[in-house]
């Protein structure tokens, strides 16, 4: 249980500073590991109840394309990294930690990551919300729910065939669209091109 929690943390906060903090946390928890194992069942149940209520209370930001379009056209000298993903999309889940790491590392340099979920509406409660809460996603998550895809996909990018993951990086009027997966290095080097 403890180990699983750690590996998720490591996955999602993989950058130098946080890693150091985590290492210290790891040392401390390792020292207190035995004590923790003795944690009584009542505490475990309370933890689970806390997560359940946290999921229940979590409010999604849901837009149709008209409502969403403003996120693609901000002109505030900030670099926006807009990633289209869904919980059912394996390569999206695989690259999500890199977007989280990017957000953590560059948020103080005028970079904002926005994760745009394309999950099915009937799975918001059972899949999407639990995913966001359990993985402690720190980047802003918004949900795009608009079935008229042939209308809105070309407005995101004329070159987009519609497969995900897909990402836009832009600052003011300068933008690039990527219909592909990233690792952290690739993502970081793309963002750096917008940071001059």
């Amino acid at each position: 249980m403890l180990k699983m929690g750690m590996s998720f943390q490591v996955m999602y906060k993989f950058n130098a500073m946080k890693f150091k903090v985590l290492f210290i946390v790891f040392l401390i928890t390792a020292c207190h590991g035995k004590q923790k194992e003795k944690k009584n069942i009542a505490d475990v149940i309370t933890d689970n109840e806390n997560i359940v209520s946290e999921i229940k209370d979590f409010e999604l930001e849901i837009y149709d394309f008209n409502g969403f379009e403003k996120f693609l056209n901000k002109k505030d000298d900030k670099v926006y990294v807009i990633n289209f993903w869904a919980t059912w999309c394996k390569p999206c889940i695989k690259e999500l930690p890199y977007f989280e790491a990017l957000n953590a590392k560059y948020s103080n340099q005028n970079v904002e990551v926005i994760l745009v979920s394309l999950d099915f509406p009937h799975l918001y409660e059972t899949k999407l919300k639990p995913f966001i809460v359990k993985n402690k996603i720190a980047s802003r998550v918004i949900v795009l729910d608009d079935v008229d895809m042939d209308n809105w996909i070309p407005k995101v990018s004329k070159t987009w065939s519609g497969s995900i993951p897909a990402t836009i990086i832009y600052i003011n009027d300068s933008r690039k669209f990527y219909e592909r997966s990233f690792n952290f290095k690739e993502l970081e080097s793309e963002v750096k091109q917008f940071l001059n």
Binding site: W88, P91, V147, D148, M149, D150, S161, G162, S163
Partner: protein, 206 residues
């Protein structure tokens, strides 16, 4: 000295020009409307090899790149079955091709494809793109991805590329049936009006 500068400029020019041409060819992967689609010989869930040339009486084909594991593909399964029920008797059978790498997606391997085909009683071929050689030629990028082909004396011409319709959530809420409209037009001897549409789908696993 002058000569060497000229030489360097010439080399630079060649490099520049070739860089642009390479770019051009890589961005135009896959078929455009009007292109001739390649035939294939792929393993079906019933153990036989299937090609378009096997369908002597066909007037064309509704090719769908699809799979077991993509929620969008699953959402459209019943509509693909309905397309075959409606258009196979009119000369436009459905041929489904599973393009994913089955090492990456074991849920899409031949055994799982057979199970799915049996469960849903597919009346059309469900083929495995063994070695992933066919989908890149078509330019399929996701599941489901539809290609309507018209059989002509010269071969099978691509007439429509894209989605099945404009509402993945609810078949009853659909207002535009892209594939049906395309096939209806071809059957009536007309041009297809909407030749390309876009839809979200699962990227093909390589």
């Amino acid at each position: 000295m002058k000569n060497s500068i000229k030489l360097i400029t010439a080399i630079l020019l060649v490099v520049l020009i070739s860089a642009f041409t390479i770019n051009k060819t890589t961005t135009s992967d896959g078929y455009a409307i009007g292109d001739m689609a390649t035939d294939f010989k792929l393993l079906n869930v019933d153990g036989n090899m299937v090609s378009m040339s096997d369908f002597e009486d066909a007037k064309g084909f509704i090719i769908t790149f699809t799979c077991n594991t993509c929620p969008y593909a699953v959402a459209y399964e019943d509509r693909v079955i309905a397309l075959n029920d409606k258009y196979a008797p009119l000369g436009y059978p459905v041929i489904a091709i599973m393009p994913n790498n089955t090492d990456v997606k074991p849920g899409d391997n031949m055994q799982s494809m057979q199970a799915r085909a049996q469960e849903k009683e597919f009346a059309f071929p469900y083929l495995l793109d063994e070695g992933q050689k066919i989908y890149p030629q078509y330019g399929a990028t996701k599941t489901p991805h539809m290609f309507v082909l018209e059989k002509t004396g010269d071969g099978n011409v691509v007439r429509y590329i894209g989605a099945i319709d404009n509402n993945y959530k609810k078949a009853s809420a659909v207002t535009e049936k892209y594939v049906e409209d395309a096939v209806d037009a071809l059957l009536a001897g007309h041009d297809v009006e909407k030749t390309e549409t876009k839809a979200i789908g699962c990227s093909i696993k390589v």
